[in-house]
């Protein structure tokens, strides 16, 4: 493929799209109500809706990508134990796709509508919630090991961490209201100050990355080095 297709056309598309969105944000008055009142608004809105459509395709792309990855893993695995989780992934994915398609209200034929609700409520919900809720145990163990006054910084972390846990404990909120005032002060002044510094630095970095991407210096998103 020539450099024109691999590099120049994608960079030109990025530049034009980025410029339209930038101009839409900078030049279109905040009070504008309808897209056709400004060409920048019109093209900005159109591009945004295209991006949402593309995001749908990305979900499909993810399915293809994960299928290829696990198909390769099944072919290369030496034992059934190694193959098991990949095969299980295909079984579950197939079940969700079939039940999802024929249980979806917008499909013309929905014989599996009840199954879809069942899968969501009794399979997906408990599994998702279990994975998430199991974090509490890791966090408890992590706090016990991390909150040690080994150094001055460690002691500061211990004190603030200990007070923060007390702050979030309803019992202490009721009987030791001074904790609320202490943590509120820490959150309002030192923590906000530190976070503002981090966020402003990150924002400046994002602006620079945006400018580099727009002018074609940053080409990492093209997926290859030229």
């Amino acid at each position: 493929m020539s450099v024109l297709y691999r590099r120049h056309i994608p960079l030109a598309i990025t530049f034009i799209c980025g410029l339209i969105i930038l101009l839409q944000f900078s030049l279109v008055p905040a009070k504008i109500t309808e897209p056709w009142q400004s060409p920048f608004q019109y093209y900005g809105v159109t591009l945004t809706n295209w991006a949402n459509l593309l995001a749908n395709f990305i979900i499909g792309f993810g399915v293809v990508n994960i299928s290829l990855l696990h198909a390769r893993r099944i072919m290369r695995a030496k034992s059934w134990v190694d193959k098991f989780y990949s095969i299980w992934l295909f079984i579950v994915m197939a079940a969700f796709i079939v039940v999802g398609l024929f249980g979806y209200p917008r499909m013309w034929w929905t014989p599996l509508a009840a199954n879809w609700d069942w899968l969501q409520l009794y399979v997906l919900t408990p599994l998702d919630a279990t994975v998430y809720a199991s974090l509490v145990f890791y966090m408890a163990s992590g706090c016990y090991r991390a909150f040690r006054a080994r150094t001055l910084e460690g002691a500061a972390l211990l004190v603030v961490g200990f007070l923060s846990i007390m702050y979030k404990t309803p019992l202490f909120q009721a009987y030791a209201p001074w904790i609320i005032k202490t943590i509120d002060w820490i959150a309002e002044y030192p923590a906000v100050g530190a976070y503002r510094g981090i966020q402003v630095s990150a924002a400046l970095g994002a602006i620079l990355l945006g400018i580099r991407t727009l002018i074609g210096v940053e080409t990492g998103y093209l997926g290859r080095r030229d």
Binding site: P35, N49, N52, A133, F137, A140, Y144, A149, A191
Partner: protein, 280 residues
């Protein structure tokens, strides 16, 4: 643990023991509530007052959480929906996550809009999941009907009476977001609050995300900022006790145990260092 002193053991308690004790400390109050006091904190009071002060006919966008984080937001979301449905406001539900539609079904199985005289399409409707994250938020802000051709059941938006009055961000009075994702809570600020600062932004995030969101709250870009944990306080304030009040006791149990573990770990570490010849 053979050959280890008691101090060594206390300094490095096996994680299996910690997990078991934390599990017991959480399970007991859930099975048999302790009836500990539930103080109503200032952010929850503010959250309540902001919903209470929404003018009649206001259109509110409710961006609910994903399925994975649902247990964390359960009580806050249910209590908020009870409150919102009891007010003369119109609700637009939105899911920023593909699994969010299941959350909407669960929420409506706990809060019956009909009990408040609310009718689907007239007082509330769900626009479904729109992929894209921040671009979806931007699209909703700019041209609502172009971004949402139909509701989550496939009914064309033109057939939903309530949607006739919604063109873009300027028709919304408030935005209520429940999320465990930083890019979502901050994304709404970037795509909505920056464009229209008059919108009331009520943001409920995981408690560990509060420090990240606090600068936006101090900058008045977030009207009310609360964590997901104090759902019990809101239930208490509304007079609708639910799972949140039970969870408050479980939080107390688990967090007290955690504090005890931290104290034990530090005492053991200090004792060990002193035994080796003083604090370094």
């Amino acid at each position: 643990m053979a050959g280890k002193s008691i101090i060594d053991v206390l300094e490095n308690i096996p994680r299996e023991i910690i997990y078991t004790i934390v599990l017991i400390a959480m399970a007991i109050p859930l099975i048999r509530p302790l009836g500990l006091p539930v103080p109503v904190s200032e952010p929850i009071r503010k959250w309540y007052n902001e919903i209470e002060s929404l003018p009649p006919g206001s259109i509110v966008l409710v961006s609910h959480c994903s399925l994975g984080s649902y247990p964390a937001f359960d009580s806050m979301q249910v209590a908020t929906l009870h409150h919102l449905f009891s007010r003369p406001v119109k609700l637009v539900f939105f899911s920023i996550d593909a699994t969010g539609l299941a959350v909407y079904d669960i929420l409506l199985s706990k809060v019956d809009p009909k009990a408040y005289g609310k009718v689907y399409g007239v007082d509330y409707f769900h626009i479904g999941f729109i992929p894209g994250g921040e671009t979806a938020m931007k699209a909703l802000a700019e041209d609502f009907k172009a971004a949402v051709p139909s509701d989550y059941k496939g009914t064309p938006i033109s057939q939903i009476p309530m949607a006739a009055n919604i063109r873009n961000i300027h028709d919304f009075t408030a935005l209520i977001c429940f999320t465990s994702a930083g890019e979502t809570s901050i994304g709404w600020i970037r795509q909505w609050i920056v464009v229209r600062p008059e919108i009331k932004y009520l943001c409920c995030v995981l408690d560990m995300m509060l420090p990240t969101m606090r600068p936006y709250y101090e900058a008045k870009q977030v009207t009310v900022l609360v964590g997901s944990a104090p759902g019990g306080e809101y239930e208490f304030l509304l007079g609708k006790p639910g799972s949140g009040i039970k969870k408050a006791d479980a939080f107390t149990g688990a967090q007290l145990i955690l504090l005890v573990f931290i104290i034990i770990g530090n005492i053991a570490a200090i004792a060990k260092r002193m035994g080796k010849g003083g604090v370094r």
